[in-house]
């Protein structure tokens, strides 16, 4: 973590460095949030497509089952029931999108909350800077206070790492025994 901006420095000191650091953090977090939203879109599209396939296959199997029930061949209805079960099991894989998307949403929500906090503190900092420039003798440490609060918010934003969810499709994950 960079410590080139000290909260005790003067109102106009280091502002350009602070703006540069903030800009980099904002860009990085906005890009991450954008990528997470795209990832969610891919997961949702893939899961929806696969679930619809399962739904249509199960509907066909149920129609076959109705026909098989009225036929004398017992094995035919058993085969149809087995196919329905296969489709339901397949659906259970694709329904897991809710867990993946839920985790991604939680990560993005945290990222947006951190962005909002920086935005709010930046407004306060700018107001304090403006006031300090106009009436330096009446500042009473207000600028330093706002700057500290802003730096805290910036640290929170900079600490937001990538999402743990890397999946971009509903393709099954690896299984490994130790």
């Amino acid at each position: 973590m960079s410590d080139y901006v000290e909260a005790t420095s003067g109102p106009c000191d280091d502002i350009s460095s602070l703006v540069g650091r903030t800009g980099a953090a904002l860009k990085s977090q906005c890009v991450a949030a954008h990528e997470e939203l795209q990832q969610m879109q891919h997961l949702l599209s893939d899961a929806t497509r696969n679930l619809l396939d399962c739904f249509h296959a199960a509907a066909r199997d149920l129609a076959d089952y109705e026909r098989a029930r009225n036929s004398p061949e017992q094995s035919s209805s058993e085969q149809t029931a087995a196919r329905v079960e296969v489709n339901l099991l397949a659906a259970s894989q694709h329904l897991q999108f809710s867990d993946l998307v839920g985790q991604l949403l939680a990560t993005t929500e945290g990222r947006v909350d951190a962005l909002l906090l920086v935005s709010q503190n930046m407004q306060s900092l700018m107001l304090a800077l403006s006031a300090a420039r106009e009436n330096p003798e009446e500042d009473n440490g207000q600028f330093d206070l706002r700057k500290r609060a802003f730096l805290e918010a910036l640290k929170v934003l900079e600490s937001r790492g990538p999402s743990r969810v890397r999946q971009t499709s509903m393709k099954a994950g690896d299984a490994q025994l130790f």
């Binding site: 079960e85 339901l88 099991l89 397949a90 259970s92 894989q93 694709h94 329904l95 897991q96 999108f97 809710s98 867990d99 993946l100 839920g102 985790q103 743990r164 969810v165 890397r166 999946q167 509903m170 393709k171 099954a172 994950g173 690896d174 299984a175 490994q176 025994l177 130790f178």
Partner: protein, 121 residues
């Protein structure tokens, strides 16, 4: 007699799907909503297999594995981690903690049943 599985996940939907798949393969399933809940349920009765998520409130999966392995009755019980995370670093942590295996979400139901039959059979 059916083998008893403890499914630990903070996502109710994941617990429901895991139960559906395991029950279809003949297993009995008890659900827990986080590591702490899972540990309490594991202390209340003996399970033949435990499947746990990693990232959960109150207690994560790897901490749960360590806590279970510290109990004499769970020294050799198979414990699988079923999680979105698939990094080698995390898998290594799971292995060191005493997990039997690592499965990455989304799970393939047939593959899951195959693995469960193998470790709990």
């Amino acid at each position: 007699m059916s083998k008893l599985v403890l499914s630990v996940d903070d996502s109710a939907a994941m617990r429901e799907m895991l139960s559906f798949v395991l029950k279809s393969a003949g297993y009995k399933v008890i659900e827990a909503e986080d590591g702490m809940d899972g540990l309490q349920k594991a202390l209340a009765q003996q399970f033949d297999l435990i499947i746990t998520d990693q990232s959960m409130p109150k207690m994560d999966g790897i901490t749960l594995v360590k806590a279970l392995r510290a109990l004499p009755q769970y020294k050799t019980t198979p414990i699988l981690l079923l999680t979105t995370e698939g990094s080698d670093e995390m898998k290594g942590e799971g292995r060191t903690a005493g997990a039997t295996g690592w499965l990455v979400k989304p799970f393939d139901p047939n593959k899951l049943i195959e693995v469960v039959n193998k470790v709990a059979g």
